[in-house]
């Protein structure tokens, strides 16, 4: 006969994989979410600015001079067509050639002001102006700094939170409401075996959960994992354990699914908002920052981002891991104290 801890863990895992909805929310949904957000916020190549050259003498020369800047897309239009295109926003700027060049544009449109500067520089350059200061461009398009790169570690943290809490909370409250917990303590089973088995069973599906999302983000969006896989695994496991402990605490008393659902959302909602899943928590006022950074999900997301994007070592994220672990242990301790078996 196997050890009860092994049996409880096994049963917990079997019950999970036999629940199609759970599989979807834990494994498929985060991937779909990262896909949707990654596509929505994908980086677009810069588009050339459409500008018009008013038809007349020197129109062709002017157009050719402007076309030398590849950020500009000039074409020649009649006077009336120029006015129409400018008003409808189809061009950012109208250039009226002549001895004195006229720039015709709406100064409230950013792209129009940019087009005016670029067009003037192109025309002055082709007329022989020499730059007084030498300058080169350094472009910020490297991977690791895009929105999808910011997003994926946040989704990973959010998923570790959600799965840890729901995965534990639902099954425990269901077992309590069905009288199964009471039946279990009528056996010689050790209570801690049950609770630890629940946690271990949940941790068993942490591997596909993290692996799938990170693998998908790496292959499809080229999201980097610059730190070691060991560091990523350690942070994920500690985060998963911590939220499992919090899930156990939330599930310590409720007798109904409705009761535990409300409590879960109450606990998770502030972290969805404040902990930097979808945007940086730096946007919140300074006065809130200490509280925000004390939240377990903030610490977990910070650690995940540091490891994945900055290649941080475990030692470098030790403060965040300490916060995460402290939450997990405190919650587990309270859960054991509060837990009701019937």
């Amino acid at each position: 006969m196997r050890h009860p801890l092994v049996e409880i863990t096994r049963v917990k895992f079997l019950e999970f994989i036999r629940e199609p909805e759970a599989i979807f929310w834990v494994l498929v949904f985060p991937v779909l979410l990262s896909l949707a957000l990654g596509v929505a916020f994908r980086t677009k190549p810069p588009e050339a600015l459409a500008i018009a050259v008013q038809d007349g003498p020197q129109a062709e020369e002017t157009r050719d001079a402007l076309a030398r800047d590849r950020a500009l897309a000039p074409r020649i239009l009649s006077v009336s067509a120029c006015r129409e295109a400018l008003r409808a926003g189809r061009v950012a700027l109208v250039v009226v050639p002549g001895a004195e060049v006229t720039y015709w544009f709406d100064p409230t449109r950013d792209e129009s002001r940019v087009a005016r500067l670029a067009a003037d520089a192109a025309l002055q350059g082709s007329a022989g102006r020499v730059d007084a200061v030498a300058a080169t461009d350094r472009l910020m398009t490297e991977k690791g700094s895009r929105y999808i790169d910011f997003l994926v570690p946040g989704l990973l943290g959010m998923n570790l939170m959600g799965t840890g809490m729901w995965g534990i909370g639902f099954s425990i409250v269901t077992a309590r409401s069905r009288g199964l917990l009471k039946r279990l303590i009528a056996t010689p089973m050790r209570k801690r075996h049950y609770l630890v088995g629940q946690m271990l069973g949940r941790m068993a599906f942490l591997i596909p959960e993290v692996g799938l999302l990170v693998g998908f983000a790496t292959l499809v969006f080229d999201v980097p994992v610059r730190g070691s896989l060991l560091a990523l695994a350690t942070v994920s496991i500690l985060g998963g354990m911590a939220f499992t402990g919090i899930g156990l605490l939330v599930a310590a008393r409720p007798r109904t699914i409705e009761g535990v659902s409300g409590l879960m959302n109450f606990v998770m909602l502030p972290m969805w908002i404040f902990s930097g899943v979808f945007f940086s928590p730096a946007r919140f006022p300074d006065a809130l920052q200490p509280a925000i950074h004390a939240l377990p999900l903030t610490a977990l997301n910070d650690a995940l981002r540091a490891v994945m994007l900055d290649g941080a070592s475990l030692a470098a994220v030790a403060p965040e891991l300490a916060i995460v672990t402290a939450w997990g242990l405190a919650a587990l301790g309270f859960a054991l104290w509060l837990f009701r078996w019937r």
């Binding site: 006969m1 196997r2 050890h3 009860p4 092994v6 049996e7 409880i8 049963v11 079997l14 019950e15 036999r18 629940e19 077992a175 069905r178 009288g179 199964l180 009471k182 039946r183 279990l184 303590i185 009528a186 056996t187 010689p188 089973m189």
Partner: protein, 307 residues
């Protein structure tokens, strides 16, 4: 071990104003099947959960297998098997997985395959609990109680809500446990179940044991072994019926009159002659062997099942 497997003395449990168990005493002998028979709400479940160590009594003591729940609960849990009245086992586990899980909690016990054979669920080994019928679920619940090879088996209303055939299958399993020398404590509000399975029965009403004996002795205690029930077109003079030589006891329940009688073949002619003398016509007459139901009615004036 002494002949006593389980003893409860002066058990009291209150829930607010309600006294669920009101000074209840009982002793279960090793190797016997002991029944707690009573209507719903009589305090049977509270009593049995006190004996199982799941509820602490407000006062009174429980002695079980020579120990007590205060001194070594885990060692006692190894030696007893429990079926609770309303346990719903995990729906998405199979029969074998459920039994194997429960087996892992006990240091020693039966092989899961052996238990599945005892409860006649071998062909359901790989079926999910959700797919089982009510009777099969009840037998799986029995399996979970048996898998630790218990010295005492506690069964709380093991057949409530089952159809007659499923009930008989559960009875076969319990009879099998008894035949293997196990001690069984069961609660029921089916007198037929108590009569059929139990060596001794405590009739429980309002948290107290109001009678305790073998089923035969309890029925014999009525002083007569048959019951005649009849209805008439018009009112009868009950005092004259009561005076008949064969009538041991008389009770009227609405339009039905019940007579407890010693010998049916003598009592019926006497009854018919008397009704004729009173010029009262019969509309119904039935007769049956006295049952525990009749014992309960005689003692409390109420029926076990109010329907």
């Amino acid at each position: 071990m002494s002949g006593i497997a389980l003893r409860g003395l002066g058990l009291v449990k209150r829930y607010g104003e309600v006294v669920a168990v009101d000074g209840l005493d009982l002793e279960v002998r090793a190797g016997e099947c002991f029944g707690l028979l009573g209507p719903n709400g009589a305090g049977k479940t509270t009593t049995v959960e006190i004996l199982e160590g799941l509820i602490a009594p407000d006062s009174g003591t429980v002695e079980i297998l020579g120990g007590s729940w205060a001194s070594d609960p885990r060692e006692l849990r190894e030696r007893i098997g429990i079926q609770l009245q309303e346990t719903q086992l995990a729906e998405k586990l199979t029969v074998l997985e459920t039994i194997t899980l429960f087996r892992s909690f006990y240091k020693k016990g039966l092989d899961p395959a052996e238990v599945m054979r005892i409860v006649q669920l071998e062909d359901k080994e790989s079926a999910w609990v959700r797919k089982l019928s009510g009777g099969q679920k009840q037998r799986l619940s029995l399996a979970a109680a048996l898998v630790g090879d218990p010295e005492i088996l506690f069964l709380d209303e093991p057949t409530t809500g089952l159809d007659p055939q499923a009930r008989r299958q559960v009875w076969e399993v319990i009879a099998d446990v008894k035949a293997r020398g196990g001690t069984v404590l069961l609660t029921t509000h089916y007198m037929e179940e108590a009569e059929r399975l139990c060596d001794r029965i405590a009739i429980v009403d309002r948290g107290k044991v109001i009678a305790l004996d073998t089923p035969a002795a309890l029925i014999a205690g009525l002083g007569a072994e048959h019951v005649l029930e009849f209805e008439t077109e018009s009112a009868t003079d009950l005092a004259r019926l009561r005076a008949l030589e064969q009538v041991h006891d008389l009770r009227r329940d609405g339009v039905t009159v019940s007579l407890t009688v010693r010998e049916v073949h003598r009592a019926i002619p006497q009854l018919l002659a008397e009704l004729q003398a009173q010029s009262v016509a019969l509309t119904r007459l039935t007769t049956h062997h006295a049952t525990l139901e009749d014992v309960f009615v005689a003692m409390t004036g109420r029926h076990l099942r109010e329907n």
